[in-house]
Each structure stands twice: as C-alpha cells, then as structure tokens.
Symmetry: C2
Subunit: 149 residues, 2 copies
C-alpha cells in the first residue's frame, strides 16, 4: 500500500471502468504492473467491488429517506438485522451509538411505498419505534474523497 496504490484507488473511485492501460498511463507504470496491483487490492479487500451509480429518479426510485430505529430492550439484534437485510429498499444500514440503534438509508418510488415500508419496519420484531426523515433533494452522494492517505 504505497502512494501508487492510493492513486489507483483514487482513479478507480472516479471512474471504475478505466482500462488498465489508462490507469497505467496515469500512474506511470506498465499495464501488467497495474493489473497485478489492482488484483492484490481486490484480494486484500481494500477494493470491495465496482458499482455503477444511477439516477434513481430515472429508475422510479425518486424518494430517499433516512430511518432511525430504536430497538426493544429485549431485542435480538441479529434478528432485526436479518429482517432489515431482507428488505431490498434498505440501501444502507449503520449500527449507531445513541438512542437509535440503527440508521437506514432507504429508496422507494413513492411516498405511499415509503409509508408501507415504515409500517413493515415498525412491525419487525425487536423494533420499538422509528423516526423517519425525508430527503427533499440529494445535493451529492458517495462523493469520492480525494487525497487519500
């Protein structure tokens, strides 16, 4: 993990479909060298995958909301997590410090679907209550952080 690896990660966070030849040009190495470095970063788990970023509105998922969950005192955390994981609308899930044990990012098509999702989450065994905030607009998302390390 040297500065070239960091630069490769930075480049791949900007454009994950860059060819190895292009990456090689940018970092001043040969394509095979870059290929091997990237392979090692993937094997080590430093690079976890490559994702296309989409326009959610165009895909009919124009409603983004954040849901905080307060657990029952006797809740089985694994059961709650399993139930949440089974809901495809739940895009991200963090285990938090504080009163709300989980913070979810969810995407649905309509407010009606959001309502149904909230009901489902509230009915999940182990969930005591939820607090939902709706995103009116997304200013930016998953912006790659430059100058790593």
């Amino acid at each position: 993990m040297d500065s070239i690896d960091l630069r490769l990660i930075e480049l791949l966070r900007e454009n994950a479909r860059s060819s190895y030849a292009e990456l090689a040009r940018q970092v001043g190495l040969s394509a095979p060298a870059v290929h091997e470095r990237v392979g090692k970063l993937e094997a080590a788990g430093t690079i976890r995958g490559y994702r296309a970023e989409v326009d959610y509105e165009a895909l009919g998922l124009g409603v983004t909301a954040l849901i905080g969950i307060i657990e029952d005192s006797g809740a089985d955390t694994d059961d709650v997590l399993t139930a949440l994981r089974a809901m495809p609308e739940v895009e991200s899930c963090y285990f938090m410090a504080g009163v709300e044990s989980y913070q979810l990012t969810v995407r649905v098509g309509t407010i009606a679907e959001l309502e149904q999702l909230i009901v489902r989450v509230n009915r999940t065994p182990g969930v005591a209550s939820t607090r939902t905030a709706i995103a009116l607009s997304t200013k930016w998302e998953n912006r790659p952080q430059p100058h790593l390390g």
Copy 2:
C-alpha cells in the same frame, strides 16, 4: 428503457467492470448492441458513473458519522452548501424535510478529526447548530436494489 436496459443497469450495479462481451452474454445480445445501449444510458444520465467501492478502514477512514444541520433563520442556503461542498470529508449531503435542513454522511480517520470537522461545520456561516451520530459499524452500504422497475 426496456427490460434489457434494466437488466444491464442491474448487472453494472453489481459489477461495473464487466466487459461489454460479458454483459452481452448475460442479456442475450451482441456486444455492439450492448455497447450502444450502455452509451445511451450514460448519455441520458441514467447511468451517472462508475465507482470503486473501498474498505474505508483500510484507507484510514474508519470513522463514519451522520451530521444533521439546523440552519440560521437568515442563512443563505447556497453559501452553506458551497462551504459543505468544500469539505472533502462530507461524502453525501441531503436537503431534508424537518427541523434539520441538511443531513451529511462524513468519513474521517479518527474521533479527533471528527471533532475538528464538527467544529468547522458549526463555525460555517448560516449553520445554527448540528447534531452528530457516530456509526459504530457499517452493516451494509450502497447495496444495489435488485429487480428494478
């Protein structure tokens, strides 16, 4: 935008580095046809880009937090946004319904850096107060939602 386009998007959300030939095999078209479809999806803005997903801990960004911002009554929203945008630690920024105008996702290396970031955000003109919640662990993040549309 038909079912093949949706399938292509789904495949690219799972692995953005799939070759056109591989995508073509999966959807049962020729590689040039897939190339053209993907190009159109990019041009239309439906596909906004391709991002490598990384292990933040391995990159020294092991601390994730969510910050809610309450604006001053007389705040210039654009100024606040510009200031937030200039902070590389702010990975995502949503404009919210509710008391807290903005919800940020931030990544830093240490709690000390988080403290400094919170101070900086609080000092930003237009920001009245903030509320920070720390993610103890990330259960999952940016999970691609299957069966779109």
